[in-house]
């Protein structure tokens, strides 16, 4: 759970060489959905700064077809919860979630939204999943844009796979020292026989 599977197995538009497109409607739909996420940025706190950075040219997430912000929940299908949700804000968040039309996804941006972070006190909600279901958690205080993009890609992948289980963006390990990704293998000297 939480790992980004490298490319999903469904083939969209396979066999195009014969001039015919063969796929399943569900896959086509999922494929369409994942590349046209209309987002509702529910920006409250510090993470909003990183959210600005995300939307700005350097880490521009319009590359993923997710740039169109809709400030009416009825037109949005991806709810970014960006920042701390305090008890006073909670009813509003839930109202907005309820107003969104299916299919809808929720992305918890940052530690506060994921689990409350270090605000273990009278004012704060320890994670939005106490209030609304959440699909992808992006830890970090605030998370680096790379991590958020990772989370976005993870969500798109889950959409494609029709997977509704919640997932967490795991910290990326250094490819040089890690071989699980099968990316780079550092050659170690053979011990002398």
């Amino acid at each position: 759970m939480g790992e980004l599977t490298h490319g999903s197995d469904q083939v969209i538009g396979g066999g195009a060489s014969e001039g015919i497109i063969t796929t399943r409607a569900a896959d086509l739909l999922a494929w369409a959905q994942k590349y046209s996420l209309f987002m509702y940025p529910f920006v409250t706190a510090c993470c909003g700064m990183e959210f600005m950075a995300m939307s700005s040219p350097r880490y521009d997430f319009s590359r993923f077809g997710a740039e169109a912000p809709r400030f009416s929940p009825r037109q949005a299908d991806l709810l970014w919860v960006v920042g701390t949700i305090v008890q006073r804000q909670a009813p509003i968040l839930r109202r907005i979630y309820e107003q969104m039309a299916e299919p809808k996804w929720v992305l918890a941006f940052g530690t506060c939204a994921s689990c409350g972070g270090f605000y273990d006190n009278y004012a704060c909600v320890a994670g939005i999943d106490k209030i609304i279901p959440c699909d992808v958690y992006v830890p970090g205080c605030p998370p680096r844009p790379e991590a958020v993009l990772d989370g976005l890609m993870l969500l798109m992948d889950k959409i494609q796979r029709g997977d509704k289980r919640p997932a967490v963006v795991k910290p990326r390990t250094d490819p040089a020292t890690d071989n699980t990704h099968g990316l780079v293998q550092v050659r170690r000297r053979e011990p002398a026989a």
């Binding site: 706190a45 510090c46 305090v86 006190n121």
Partner: protein, 404 residues
């Protein structure tokens, strides 16, 4: 030029209009997600406003009473999350004032340079967001681009882009990196270029000017009585800048001007920030000039600063010193202090009460935003609905700082 929408108010000619309640926010793009305005309208103009804050009250002051003095830094960091470094420095200064210690010169220059960089990122963000909310998206993108450059420096220095708990009582977490001076100089130039571009883009723009000029005028008397400080106060024509009137760190030794507005409308608030960007650039260059390339950054006081790791591991004295500071927290003598600095939005005060133990007894953060936001009601009453956006934008309300 007299804006057209100013010469006639709808409520001056009495239309048969029932007062209508309009609720804006908190989940409204123009309200930055954390403020709620309940307005009573006749037609399009606002008769009564109830401004409600507290949608980001995270209990900082309560949490500060639970850890050690050093564990307060992450909280002040997230207090004003556009210019965290200024808060770090401010809190350090407050604690040092109580301990009666002064950090080495190099550290003071370093703190000033980083602080002014943070101020630039604050003003860039504020003006950029303001322009965006008025429909000018390009300046926003450019200014965020400029802010990214600052964040790159911050990341190089502190390891974090945004919330870097970098200040320490009696110094900084790390000395400046080797490339700090060059990168900063280069970045400052580029930022100034961006600012010029933005000016060229906006200041000739009829729509932009019409929506700012003469809108949301605040008289100096009002501003003072409301406890406004910082750019908003200066925009109303009051030349009060703590860096000038009560110099701390080395601000007494650097040259910079305090920009002052004339009318105190949104345009002045916008321009004061633009001007302060240039002043900050001046200060930074002077700091980089004066800052020594070597020398201690932290005071060598066993009560306050951690020893070298190699001493900790090899000598009992070092171990004890480390142990005392980490396990029991550094002890600040019993007493109280009010320390004030010029943060991005004005006077950021820390009223600290210590009972001599390793835990703060009370940490009161005096946020500039809170009082500035309290003036929002007076600013937008009598304005049009459309004016709420620039007025609110020009106040630079930071949720974390306002609600804490």
């Amino acid at each position: 030029m007299e804006p057209i929408d100013q010469d006639l108010y709808e409520h001056e000619i009495d239309l048969p209009a029932e007062p209508m309640l309009l609720n804006v926010g908190p989940a409204h793009p123009a309200m930055h997600g954390t403020v709620r305005c309940v307005m009573e309208l006749t037609g399009e103009s606002i008769v009564k406003v109830d401004v409600q804050v507290g949608y980001l009250h995270r209990g900082f002051e309560k949490m500060c009473e639970r850890g050690t003095w050093t564990q307060v830094y992450p909280y002040v960091d997230r207090c004003n999350y556009i210019s965290p470094m200024l808060n770090n420095v401010a809190f350090s200064l407050a604690c040092e004032k109580m301990l009666g210690i002064e950090v080495p010169e190099r550290c003071q220059w370093y703190r000033m340079a980083l602080g002014e960089l943070a101020r630039m990122s604050d003003h860039l963000t504020c003006d950029g967001a303001m322009a965006m909310e008025l429909g000018a998206f390009t300046p926003f993108l450019w200014m965020i681009k400029a802010r990214e450059m600052i964040w790159d420096i911050m990341e190089e220095e502190t390891g974090a882009r945004l919330t870097h708990s970098f200040g320490r009582v009696g110094g900084m977490a790390f000395p400046p990196t080797a490339g700090f001076k060059e990168t900063s100089r280069a970045t400052v130039d580029q930022i100034l270029k961006v600012v010029e571009e933005v000016e060229r883009l906006l200041l000739g723009n009829r729509i932009f000017l019409d929506r700012l000029e003469g809108v949301g005028i605040v008289s100096p008397e009002d501003a003072i009585s409301l406890g406004w400080t910082g750019p908003c106060l200066r925009a109303s024509g009051v030349p009060y800048d703590i860096r000038k009137s009560h110099p701390y760190l080395k601000y007494g030794e650097v040259e910079f001007d305090v920009p002052v507005g004339q009318t105190g409308d949104c345009f002045d608030r916008f321009m004061v920030r633009i001007e302060e960007l240039k002043q900050s650039a001046r200060i930074i260059l002077q700091c980089l000039e004066r800052m020594a390339d070597s020398g201690p950054v932290n005071v060598d006081d066993p009560r306050v600063t951690l020893p070298d790791k190699k001493d900790v591991y090899s000598t009992i004295e070092g171990t004890i010193r480390h142990f005392k500071i980490v396990m029991e927290g550094l002890k600040i003598p019993a007493g109280e202090v009010y320390s004030y600095t010029e943060a991005g939005n004005g006077e950021l005060g820390f009223y600290l009460v210590s009972d001599g133990s390793g835990t703060p007894y009370r940490v009161r953060i005096r946020p500039p935003c809170f009082l500035i936001t309290s003036g929002l009601e007076r600013v937008i009453t009598g304005q049009m609905i459309a004016d709420v956006v620039p007025c609110f934008g020009s106040l630079n309300m930071i949720g974390g700082e306002c609600d804490r």
